[in-house]
């Protein structure tokens, strides 16, 4: 929220005094084939609203000079805002249009977008509610050049002239990147993409937008003859044929929209909206249609006495789609249906048309109420079956007919009649309220009306052509009118039909030749396919692309505890930033084997840049045993995934040199020579079958353990902090080599290194000395020496041997506690963790408190460090003082 406040502040600084930015939002503008960041702001000035579109030299902008005004669109009666809500996809598309200008914005779904769009909607509603002349938007003149000029219908508002406003440098380059939608080839907007613009994806809204921009390429126009009729029938039933009204032209119209007012003045009609007149007049209309063509009724809508019926020639029926109708009552209490309007909307081919029949407030002096009724109908008549709902103004063409009830004022009825009888209509028309109100733009702004050449249609003595002779002696008036708005509409006739004398009004009709856009299906397909092709090409072109310098990473000889690394260079050779990531294969838990480390395993690379990825291969105590037993190999296929794009496989291989580290105790006791002298096959066999090669008598404990312990026994009993201080890595390697290869030299390395090597040897086995299946039993028995003892006695022979051998040695160490400073608790803790290494599952579950577990392990081992072990049956060779 606060960041939005900051943004409003920056925008406000860009505006003149009296202008208030009430709401703002970041959005992506679809420009041809790319989208680019924009900042939108709704700006208010004395109850007039406008949408400002800014380009910013950086996102988000930090000071007002970062912003340049690209366009200013007044929220006037031409302004439209539609949300494309028809897709499940993540983004929200908002269409902003005004006359010929159509802009498509992509916004991130969420509360901010909702708020912003509802602010726009609110400003549009405010406009609808506005009474009196429509806003002039004087205050926008200073932004001219960026204003979408509302009066010049055919002029597409031009982008800002750079000289007009202080376009900062950065903003200018973005503006220059505006792509021509019809450019034959895709310009590679490398720079604009680097600046945050991204190619647009083939989403339905985008395609709809692209198609609407190319409408001229696949549509042609067809002329439709549209007959509009209106008649206030004064509550009377039909008593004569309507053909003098409906069939007065030579050629049959393609479409009829016939409206009635005061169809029924009865209480029943008013209260229950029910009347037999509906059917009577409907039949009369159908009977009176032009005889030279066949018609089908498309829709009929009625509210009390207002009825509108729409018919088309049979041949057009299949091209009429999305028919809807609505009613609005503006009568008593502003709601009742004695006054108001009814509307029908249709799409014929590719053109949307709305017909409105209204009966506005009566009485000579009430012209302002009539204006208000008009505005109410405009704001309340919405076809709600559409998402978002469509209003009258959301149609390409609108016909508005009805008893609008405007009178001739400031003139004596006598003079009016006199002028009419002398056929001086022009003087009268000047006094016509509707004409005056329209001149002041108080009503029907944007609508046109043809010249009136017929006599006023009200008020006659029914059954005659005589002016009202009642004592009210009403002045004649042009109550019954037909107006229209939209492009490609031409009125051919506008007349009254005095010969129909049923009512105190005369019927009026108008004939139009209206241009309907028809889709050429073949061309449409072609254009659609071209759009799709272009989008495909774009999408493929802007897929993330990288090359890697090597897909086969080969590590030569890999030895235990000796890390090796190689570099993989990932180069972004595409046009968009790449997010890469090494991903897991289907059933794996990690994206690489445990002996491999990838750094970084995920990152971003800008176009033209590279990323060095370090692959470090390191066989340690965790991975060695599986490599020794052949359960695992130094072989892995890495899947390098590019977000939104392809995957690349990278194979990693290495040659592992087996070691006593990682070998099982059972295998080692069967080997009398250094491990390296045994063929690999034999080693694997030993690990898996555990039989003595050539029937050799197995050692009671692995000779490697004996070498290490024996050395410590001879030289290290008095050494301080043995097993507590770590050794040197290089010495560990030397010790490993000495053990694996055999040597006549003395064991290398410091006592600390040798002690650590011993621990490492015990930690590298697949299973600890106390097998995993006894782990929890041991922890349970930890406080009870007897039970612990029993468990140890039941261990497999070699394990028991190693366990006791080491405990003997540790007791020996403790007997020199005075010199070496060691104590039983400390050693029990160190060796508890080693003898009772956690099974992999337990640590993963993490249910048991690890500190408690460690204490139990220590107390288990502790028993064997402080109790006399001499009653354990031990083979002689286990004596610590033996020689090799």
């Amino acid at each position: 929220m606060s960041s939005n406040q900051d943004l409003i502040g920056i925008i406000q600084a860009k505006l003149s005094s009296g202008e208030t930015a009430s709401s703002c939002h970041e959005a992506s503008l679809m420009q041809g084939w790319v989208r680019a960041s924009r900042i939108l702001a709704l700006v208010e000035h004395e109850n007039e609203w406008a949408l400002f579109i800014f380009i910013s030299s950086r996102m988000p902008p930090e000071v007002f000079t970062d912003l340049a005004i690209e366009r200013v669109i007044p929220v006037d009666s031409d302004f439209k805002c539609e949300i494309d809500a028809g897709e499940q996809s993540g983004d929200v598309y908002v269409n902003i249009s005004s006359r010929k200008l159509k802009l498509l914005f992509e916004m991130i779904p969420g509360i901010k977008t909702n708020n912003f769009v509802s602010e726009i909607m609110r400003s549009m509603e405010a406009l609808m509610k506005l009474r009196g002349p429509p806003p002039e938007f004087q205050w926008l003149h200073k932004y001219s050049g960026s204003t979408s000029n509302r009066n010049s219908a055919d002029c597409d508002p031009a982008p800002v002239d750079a000289a007009d406003v202080d376009v900062t440098k950065g903003a200018k380059t973005v503006a220059e990147k505006m792509l021509d939608i019809d450019s034959p080839d895709i310009v590679v907007p490398r720079q604009s993409i680097a600046q945050g613009a991204t190619p647009i994806a083939a989403r339905e809204s985008v395609i709809r937008y692209q198609m609407s921009m190319k409408e001229d390429d696949y549509t042609f126009t067809e002329t439709l003859r549209v007959f509009i009729g209106t008649w206030n029938v004064n509550g009377l039933p039909p008593n004569a044929s309507l053909s003098p009204w409906l069939a007065s032209d030579m050629e049959p119209p393609d479409l009829y929209a016939v409206g009635f007012q005061e169809l029924d003045l009865s209480k029943e009609a008013f209260l229950f909206n029910d009347t037999p007149r509906e059917e009577e007049w409907r039949k009369a209309v159908i009977a009176g249609l032009h005889p030279a063509a066949k018609y089908r009724q498309v829709a009929l809508v009625r509210l009390v006495g207002m009825m509108l019926i729409l018919l088309v020639q049979e041949k057009h029926e299949k091209h009429v789609r999305n028919v809807a109708w609505e009613t609005v009552g503006t009568g008593i209490m502003g709601k009742m249906g004695n006054k108001g309007g009814v509307g029908i909307r249709v799409e014929i081919h590719n053109t949307s048309i709305c017909f409105v029949n209204s009966h506005l407030a009566a009485h000579v002096e009430e012209f302002e109420r009539r204006n208000q009724d008009y505005h109410d109908i405009c704001s309340r008549l919405s076809f709600s079956k559409f998402v978002p709902t469509k209003c009258i103004k959301d149609h390409d063409q609108v016909y508005w007919l009805g008893d609008l009830n405007y009178r001739i004022t400031e003139m004596e009825p006598r003079i009016v009649r006199d002028l009419i009888s002398h056929n001086s209509l022009s003087a009268l028309l000047e006094c016509d309220q509707l004409n005056r109100q329209r001149q002041h733009k108080n009503v029907f702004d944007g609508y046109r009306e043809g010249p009136i050449t017929f006599k006023p249609t009200y008020k006659y003595d029914p059954g005659t052509d005589d002016w009202d002779s009642s004592e009210k002696n009403r002045a004649p008036a042009w109550c019954d009118r037909i107006l229209w708005r939209g492009d490609g509409m031409e009125q051919k006739e506008y007349r009254s039909h005095p010969i129909l004398r049923t009512s105190d009004h005369k019927p009026v009709s108008a004939l139009f030749e209206s241009q309907i856009r028809v889709i050429d299906v073949v061309k449409y397909r072609k254009v659609h396919e071209e759009v799709m092709k272009k989008l495909d090409k774009l999408e493929n072109e802007f897929l993330p692309q990288v090359t890697v310098d090597n897909t086969e990473i080969i590590f030569d000889i890999v030895r235990f505890l000796e890390p090796q690394s190689q570099e993989l260079i990932i180069a972004n050779t595409g046009q968009v930033p790449v997010d890469f990531e090494f991903i897991k294969k289907l059933d794996d838990s990690k994206y690489c084997k445990e002996w491999l480390n990838i750094d970084p395993a995920a990152s971003s690379i800008k176009p033209g840049e590279k990323c060095d990825v370090k692959l470090e291969l390191f066989v340690d105590k965790k991975s060695a045993s599986k490599l020794n037993s052949g359960e695992d190999k130094l072989y892995d296929i890495l899947v390098l995934h590019l977000d939104g794009g392809k995957d690349i496989f990278i194979t990693v291989t290495g040659n592992y040199e087996r070691s006593c580290f990682g070998s099982s105790l059972e295998a080692l006791v069967h080997i009398s020579v250094p491990v390296r002298e045994i063929p690999i096959g034999k080693l694997v066999e030993l690990e898996n079958v555990r039989e003595a090669p050539g029937g050799m008598e197995p050692y009671p404990i692995p000779k490697e353990i004996w070498f290490l312990v024996d050395h410590l026994y001879r030289h290290g009993l008095k050494k301080q902090n043995l097993f507590l201080l770590t050794g040197l890595h290089s010495e560990l390697i030397a010790i490993r080599n000495w053990l694996d290869n055999g040597s006549s030299e003395p064991l290398p390395g410091s006592l600390y290194s040798i002690a650590e090597a011993l621990l490492l040897l015990l930690e590298s086995t697949a299973e600890p000395i106390v097998p995993f299946n006894l782990h929890s039993v041991c922890l349970g028995a930890a406080t009870n020496y007897l039970q612990c003892k029993q468990i140890i006695m039941q261990l497999p022979e070699f394990r028991r041997n190693v366990f006791l051998y080491l405990c003997f040695f540790l007791q020996e160490l403790l007997s020199h506690a005075n010199e070496n400073g060691l104590d039983a608790k400390t050693l029990a803790t160190v060796f508890g963790a080693i003898f009772l290494r956690d099974p992999p599952r337990v640590s993963a579950r993490g249910r048991v408190n690890p500190a408690v577990m460690d204490r139990k392990k220590a107390s288990f081992v502790y028993h064997f460090l402080v109790n006399d072990l001499s009653d354990y049956v031990m083979s002689k060779s286990l004596h610590l003082s033996g020689t090799s």
Binding site: S89, G90, L303, T327, M532, K533, L535, E539, K646
Partner: protein, 217 residues
């Protein structure tokens, strides 16, 4: 009070264009049979005599316009080399269509194609649309797999079948078009694919996997 409304709520279809249905399509088959070449021909209209072997899974999109719908393929072109075989499920799980390619001049590749068919029938989504492509049809002189034999095999297994040539473009568009036509275009399927392009196939496997498992147990 008095107010009537036209018709039931519905979404206007203001253009005659249909909706876009998005599908994942995977290409499988032995190395060098021409998978990448078929995709290259279909998407870019090109053919390379020296097409590099794919090491990974290439991703491209291409749209096919049908009468009433537009089908957008998200194409995953997999690596045919045997050592990458174990990675293939990452790409065919969650795919709604597959093209299994063999080389008509290479009998072994046809055998390998059959193995792929079996694997898909067992492991992939049960409604996956599978097409068999006998590629390199331009090399009919050195033909090793008879067209009739492959056709019979395809019929038995309910596969679409065409002999194609990435080199001459024969039947390349046609096989993709045939798949597009055969794919179900109801909301559900298209909805699954209408999010971000190029996302990992594995993530959308959920249903498919479960369905595959229940028949084997």
């Amino acid at each position: 009070m008095a107010s009537s409304r036209g018709g039931a709520a519905q979404r206007p279809n203001n253009q005659s264009q249909g909706k876009i249905c998005q599908f994942k399509l995977v290409l499988l088959g032995e190395s060098a049979v021409g998978k990448s070449s078929l995709v290259l021909r279909f998407v870019k209209g090109q053919f390379h005599e020296y097409q590099e072997s794919t090491i990974g899974a290439a991703f491209l999109t291409q749209t096919v316009c049908l009468e009433d719908t537009t089908v957008k393929f998200e194409i995953w072109d997999t690596a045919g080399q045997e050592r990458y075989h174990s990675l293939a499920p990452m790409y065919y799980r969650g795919a709604q269509a597959a093209i299994i390619v063999y080389d008509i001049t290479n009998m072994d590749s046809f055998g390998r194609a059959k193995v792929w068919v079996k694997e898909l029938q067992r492991q992939a989504s049960p409604n996956i649309v599978i097409a068999l492509a006998g590629n390199k049809a331009d090399l009919a002189n050195s033909r090793a797999v008879e067209c009739d034999e492959a056709q019979a095999y395809a019929d038995e297994n309910g596969l679409l079948f065409m002999e194609t040539s990435a080199k001459t473009a024969k039947n390349v568009n046609e096989i993709f078009l045939a798949i597009a036509k055969k794919l179900p275009k109801n909301e559900q399927v298209s909805g699954a694919g209408s999010t971000n392009q190029g996302r990992r196939l594995v993530e959308s496997e959920g249903n498919t996997k479960a369905a595959g498992n229940c028949c084997s147990k």
